[in-house]
């Protein structure tokens, strides 16, 4: 009897392994497939055969015969760069969302809970109003830098407000995030009303877009993403244990305060970097961790890689839709598309999986 239950339990534990690996594989293949499809979409028509040839050219020079340099530039430096940025930004936001939900022990937390996005939007708006949007350095506009600085300022304010007796409490942190966000939002509205010419630029930036981004932007986000991924995976076991509550985690040997501080800082830096290059793309960080948790369970060591891939995939798909939906060739803000895709899913969670959300 006991042997039977034991083997059963072993099945229960190991069964998730193939599911997990299948998930990773499906996500990776979908990303590659969507990237390929999206590379052929655009005002400048390029046949898929040429794209495949260009993609494979680093491995085999023979594919690179008689391809126009202009086409090569568009495929590699415009479309592929944009694909990579979409995956990086989506992965970063989803990963940060998973960390926020784990650390704040709140299913409704997302990368913007602590006011990082509003801070970035405030920084960017200020730069736009001051006319710094046109200033360029190394083919990079001043906006990402201003947005990143705004995010840091907001984060620091939240940290100061959310600390009580030198400790970070989850509820106070969330409250501080809401307060700082609301305050900065009203400042953004003030800026908008002061200078009506810039309103559309500000609004478009806030809604998030990947249009006109290049490898420079990928290079900007990459260091944060690399360090962030490493740190977050490093603490994946602690993230599991934190879901038992602060006191239990502490009693099991987790230095709760230290880990909460570092993980929040890292996740916020990753978010800030993503927001700085792409604007505010909502819903990815909220919805993707939940979706993946339903698929492969809450264990962070297996969850986090899948969350990263799924986030990247979602933004890539959203961006493809954003730039191909309107027949006129104009682009929609990608943040609008993610919200339209993510909203119904969250409604489903709320209506049918309330127990899962523990509401």
């Amino acid at each position: 009897m006991s042997e039977e239950t034991c083997s059963l339990s072993r099945v229960g534990r190991r069964a998730s392994e193939p599911v997990r690996l299948t998930c990773y594989a499906v996500f990776v293949l979908s990303i590659v497939f969507t990237a390929f499809i999206t590379s052929g979409i655009g005002q400048f028509h390029i046949p898929y055969k040429t794209i495949l040839g260009l993609w494979l050219s680093p491995f085999d020079e023979t594919f690179l015969t008689d391809v126009d340099e202009r086409i090569r530039y568009i495929v590699i430096h415009v479309r592929l760069a944009r694909v990579c940025l979409a995956v990086a930004v989506g992965g970063a936001l989803a990963l940060a969302g998973a960390v926020y939900q784990g650390i704040l022990r709140n299913p409704l937390a997302d990368p913007f809970t602590l006011g990082v996005s509003t801070g970035a939007a405030f920084g960017a708006s200020t730069a736009i109003i001051l006319g710094m949007g046109g200033i360029h350095f190394l083919s990079l506009s001043a906006l990402p830098a201003a947005a990143f600085m705004g995010a840091m300022v907001a984060l620091y304010l939240v940290y100061l407000l959310g600390r009580i007796d030198g400790r970070l409490h989850t509820t106070t942190l969330v409250l501080a995030g809401i307060i700082v966000s609301t305050f900065l939002s009203s400042l953004i509205s003030l800026l908008k009303s002061l200078n009506e010419d810039s309103v559309s630029t500000i609004v478009f930036w806030i809604m998030g877009s990947l249009s006109g981004r290049s490898w420079v932007h990928v290079a900007l986000i990459l260091p944060y993403l690399t360090i962030g991924c490493f740190t977050i995976f490093y603490f994946s076991r602690e993230l599991d244990i934190l879901s038992l509550g602060d006191i239990q985690a502490q009693q099991m040997g987790v230095d709760v305060q230290k880990i909460r501080f570092w993980l929040l800082l890292i996740a916020s830096l990753v978010t800030a970097a993503a927001v700085a290059v792409s604007g505010v793309i909502g819903f990815v960080g909220l919805v993707v961790p939940h979706l993946v948790r339903l698929l492969i369970g809450p264990r962070h060591r297996s969850l986090l890689p899948a969350v990263f891939l799924a986030g990247g995939l979602l933004v890539l798909i959203a961006d493809t839709i954003a730039r191909s939906l309107l027949a006129s060739g104009e682009e929609l803000p990608v943040g609008v598309v993610t919200a339209i895709l993510g909203g119904p899913f969250f409604c489903y969670l709320l209506l049918h999986r309330r127990k899962y959300l523990q509401l």
Partner: protein, 262 residues
């Protein structure tokens, strides 16, 4: 094993424990009792290094608590707190595995020794049949059993329990306490448990500490301190103590009405 001297601690602006001293030896089974707000939980949190100590000292194994890193402390002392709130739907077996955390190095694969301890802890708490179930889908009593298994998997010489069996039915409660009693006498596990149920405490705790308003009212072997006088002082309720035949243990009946003695 545990040494507490003139301990004062509490929350900002509200001192809960106001000067408590005692020693606990290896293998003791101590019940901490007292009315609501008497400081039982606070005392346990201070012993576990969760609450900062305002004055006095707490030491285990001859060193003050502050000297231990969280992981070192967790290898010496496991604790279960009141009302844990578990956030994500982990399978129960995964929860018990988390108990091995303080013994594991980072990136280390789980070794057979860990797996064996997890299995044994689940066996003795009778939770093997829950292993594949999700912790969030269990009843309160079942959750407490899984968390008990997790605390035992932590494999520490000291165990601090705060109402860790409060939601269990009588059968499960007695089962768990029998396991603890056996571990205490056979493996010299030191158990400190906060309990509201005086009768369960009377059956299993060999020593009792009574707290009231943050000070110690009584401390000693159960047969010496579990008296009508002590209980009436602590709970301000009339009590009757009797010894059911053949048990050799005292049991208590609380009666409505005012205390006659003062």
């Amino acid at each position: 094993m545990i040494r507490v001297r003139d301990l004062r601690c509490g929350y900002p602006g509200h001192e809960v424990i106001r000067g408590v001293s005692f020693d606990v030896m290896r293998g003791e089974f101590v019940g901490i009792l007292g009315p609501n707000g008497s400081g039982k939980t606070t005392l346990l949190l201070a012993l576990g290094g969760i609450l900062p100590i305002l004055e006095g000292e707490v030491g285990i194994h001859g060193s003050p608590l502050g000297k231990f890193k969280p992981k070192d402390l967790a290898r010496r002392m496991a604790a279960l707190c009141q009302n844990p709130e578990i956030r994500f739907p982990f399978p129960c077996e995964e929860i018990v595995h988390m108990g091995r955390y303080p013994h594991q190095k980072r990136w280390q694969m789980e070794n057979p020794y860990d797996a064996a301890i997890v299995k044994r802890s689940m066996e003795i708490t009778d939770t093997l049949d829950l292993s594949g179930r999700l912790i969030t889908a269990l009843s309160g009593g079942e959750q407490q059993r899984v968390l008990m298994a997790k605390a035992l998997a932590q494999d520490t010489p000291i165990l601090l329990l705060d109402e860790a069996t409060s939601a269990m039915d009588i059968h499960r409660k007695l089962q768990i306490f029998q396991v603890l009693e056996r571990l205490s006498s056979e493996k010299e596990l030191t158990v400190l448990t906060v309990l509201h149920d005086v009768n369960t405490a009377a059956l299993f705790c060999r020593r009792m500490i009574f707290l009231k308003e943050g000070v110690m009212v009584a401390d000693g072997p159960t047969e010496e301190v579990l008296t009508e006088e002590t209980l009436e002082v602590v709970y301000r309720t009339r009590v009757l103590i009797y010894e059911p035949e053949g048990t050799g243990k005292r049991q208590v009946v609380f009666l409505p009405g005012r205390v006659e003695r003062s």
